[in-house]
């Protein structure tokens, strides 16, 4: 890890501890925008990491950005940092200058994409899309759609949309965004390859969730270990009981495995597309979420099951995020297609990424 990245991590921890508190997270669930938190992140240039300065970004690389996102996950930061990163990265790849606006991005593989019609004074957009993260607070939405000339990527000002509020398991805003034949004179349209762009958003989104989950797992691990040392029953701290110790060990294992998987996927994404690694990581991190959350709740017992305690900030997010951008089954099907293309005895080449002549390229 670079010195720069360590500094970024230190500052992010300070920001999160001050501005992503229990109260802020709870208020966000009640519909309050975490303005202070967002503004500080913007002020520190943390919403445009891994984008060159000449395009309005604050430089740094993807690993830096994901180290921030990991902490956003750990502290349940109720802001669209993942979405803003993704949207800004895609826009800067298209040569666009990025802003400090609050962004969101939608991945929908539904059969009814938004329809765009070109008019003299702008574009008319029609259709609706569900589960758009933080749409009610965001200023811009980056989304794929269809126009007469083919597949497009559109950057839309959300003031043109009707928002129907919705929530995921963690009470995070996942809104329905509705466009009723609105004429927009301020949207940007890019012509793109539909499948490639869909993959970019899907894989990128999965990586953001994987790393945020790795952070959330670390949080429940710390909460659980601390609770088990503070809580006494039968005259001793519960961490002295072997049954509880085994819970802690399993939780430690899942936390370490999820962090390893997510970090390896980030490293691969940094080098190239990292598609295979992202798929493998999302499976492993999802699995860890499913195993770790029940353990944490079992150890914290009744208090951890209450709104009063903060354990649910992370466990509910883990349960929500594991289903966003692909469940285990979704990703297993994708890997299975790659396995099907292997020759006999080639599985090991895929795992080690070395075959006798060249690298195994999948996807």
């Amino acid at each position: 890890m670079s010195e720069m990245q360590e500094m970024i991590i230190d500052s992010t921890i300070k920001i999160m501890e001050k501005f992503s508190t229990k109260e802020v997270v709870n208020e966000a669930e009640q519909g309050q925008w975490a303005a202070e938190l967002w503004n500080v992140l913007v002020e520190y240039g943390m919403t445009s990491v891994a984008i060159p300065e000449e395009l309005g970004g604050s430089d740094g690389d993807y690993a830096d950005a994901f180290s921030i996102l990991r902490l956003a996950g750990k502290y349940s930061a109720p802001v669209p940092l993942a979405e803003t990163f993704l949207a800004n990265w895609l826009l800067s790849e298209l040569g666009e200058y990025v802003t400090t606006e609050i962004m969101t991005i939608s991945y929908s593989n539904n059969s009814n994409p938004l329809q765009f019609v070109k008019e003299d004074s702008g574009w008319i957009v029609m259709g609706k899309v569900k589960n758009v993260p933080w749409a009610r607070f965001a200023e811009k939405l980056l989304i794929q759609g269809e126009a007469e000339e083919g597949s497009i990527l559109a950057l839309i000002n959300l003031k043109h949309a009707n928002i129907v509020k919705g929530h995921n398991l963690a009470g995070e805003a996942r809104d329905e965004v509705v466009f009723n034949q609105v004429l927009m004179d301020d949207c940007k349209i890019f012509s793109v390859n539909s499948n490639q762009m869909a993959d970019k958003i899907y894989y990128g989104g999965a990586l953001t969730r994987a790393i945020m989950m790795a952070g959330a797992l670390e949080n429940i691990f710390e909460l659980t270990v601390n609770y088990a040392s503070e809580r006494s029953q039968f005259g001793r701290p519960i961490n002295r009981f072997q049954a509880v110790q085994h819970h802690l060990a399993l939780l430690a294992g899942e936390t370490a495995a999820a962090n390893m998987a997510a970090n390896c996927a980030v490293a691969a994404f940094q080098k190239a597309s990292g598609n295979k690694e992202i798929a493998l990581a999302k499976i492993r991190v999802n699995e860890a979420a499913g195993k770790a959350s029940p353990i944490a709740h079992q150890v914290l017992a009744a208090i951890g099951f209450t709104y009063e305690h903060t354990l649910h900030h992370s466990t509910r997010r883990l349960w929500a995020w594991r289903d966003e951008f692909g469940t285990e089954t979704d990703w297993e099907k994708i890997i299975a297609k790659d396995l099907l293309k292997l020759q006999q005895n080639q599985l090991w080449s895929l795992v080690t990424e070395v075959i006798n002549e060249e690298k195994v390229e999948i996807k």
Partner: protein
């Protein structure tokens, strides 16, 4: 609270050449009929000839200094060679313990004479070691050992017995943990020493204990007034416990802790590809995701161990998850292909499945039971 950070290792480009060399060698050996892939090969596939071939290629004692017959290479290079051999199910059991544990023990604590004597022999694949730890009344509670050595002129007289000793029937020496002082109830770990016992010595009796498959792997070893010369004491008298513990992180986080049944996973995948069974391959994908994660954890630990970072907690954790994974491969495989597993079967898949199922109880016992490991992890993270 201890953190569980494990670095991401990017394998240096040079290791690809080494990896291809190992693969080429394995391919040729298989074609010559020198071996057929076995599950749990690092414990149960013994071949002096194969070990010597590896030795002559420089693939035993790879990280040891050249002056002791080693290869002077990095831990990551050794990792590449060992994982290739394990994935191929190659017969590496004969030199495994000496290469992994006994050699490094001599390097760290041995005398110059011991290093000069033992290391070149081990590196050639000629000299095999076994580890004498468990006794009839000391299993997980290792500090309860009773085997004792009493000082005499120029050496020690050893009495007692060891059990569940892997490979004692072909090993040349045993690193024997024994008491050199009576047990101190205030410090149970004090007063133990490590002796390199020549298993051809007078007074040593080795009896087989057959595994439930009928294979001869375990032994009980009896010592009756066995004379062990002073030169065969490893490290300091009385420091045996601490010395033995230092190697545990290596022992617990290596690729053999999650690849024991890999040959079955490979064969299962082959079959599913042949059958174009996408649903089955989706189940395999879950295992591949776990394998990929475990391998990266294990590689990360290999790297930080080389830098001298204590890694006992994460190593124990990898062994816990890894050995469960080894067991799960067989449990997944049997549900995806309907076959009758049998050790005697001529079908590779059926035989590997049988080996994997019948060897599976050992995975979570050897080298520290799951229960002991979880205790170590839990106590470690609470500190």
């Amino acid at each position: 609270m201890k953190t569980l950070k494990i670095p991401v290792v990017e394998l240096p480009k040079e290791t690809e050449i080494l990896r291809r060399e190992v693969r080429q060698f394995i391919k040729e050996e298989k074609e010559k009929g020198a071996f057929i892939p076995k599950s749990d090969c690092w414990l149960s596939a013994v071949s002096l000839e194969f070990s010597k071939k590896l030795g002559s290629r420089g693939w035993i004692g790879m990280t040891w200094p050249v002056r002791y017959g080693g290869g002077g290479r990095s831990a990551i290079e050794r990792y590449v060679v060992t994982e290739e051999l394990l994935a191929a199910g190659a017969p590496v059991a004969r030199h495994w313990i000496a290469d992994r544990q006994s050699g490094p023990l001599f390097l760290k604590f041995g005398t110059e004479e011991q290093k000069n004597f033992f290391l070149p022999r081990i590196a050639k694949g000629e000299c095999a070691f076994s580890i004498g730890l468990s006794e009839p009344d000391a299993g997980s509670d290792l500090a309860a050992i009773k085997t004792r050595a009493v000082k005499v002129e120029k050496g020690w007289v050893l009495n007692g017995s060891k059990t569940w000793t892997s490979g004692a029937h072909y090993a040349d020496y045993m690193i024997t943990l024994c008491r050199t002082c009576p047990q101190d109830s205030n410090n149970r770990h004090a007063g133990m020493s490590q002796l390199a016992v020549d298993l051809t010595s007078k007074g040593v009796t080795i009896r087989p204990i057959h595994l439930m498959t009928g294979e001869h792997h375990f032994n009980e070893v009896f010592f009756e007034d066995v004379f062990v010369p002073d030169e065969m004491v490893i490290g300091e008298v009385g420091n045996g416990w601490a010395q033995g513990m230092t190697e545990l992180a290596y022992e617990r986080s290596g690729p053999e802790r999650f690849l024991s049944t890999y040959p079955l996973l490979n064969e299962l995948t082959n079959r599913l590809i042949e059958d174009e069974d996408e649903e089955g391959l989706a189940k395999v994908s879950r295992l591949v995701s776990r394998l990929w994660t475990l391998r990266n954890m294990s590689l990360g630990i290999a790297q930080i161990l080389e830098q001298g970072v204590p890694s006992n907690i994460i190593a124990s954790l990898v062994k816990d998850i890894g050995t469960k994974f080894e067991q799960e491969i067989a449990e997944t495989a049997r549900l995806l292909v309907s076959v009758v597993p049998s050790i005697q079967s001529g079908s590779q898949l059926e035989r590997l499945m049988a080996e994997s199922i019948l060897h599976s109880p050992g995975f979570t016992l050897r080298g520290g039971t799951t229960e002991i490991l979880r205790g170590i992890v839990a106590k470690g993270v609470m500190q």
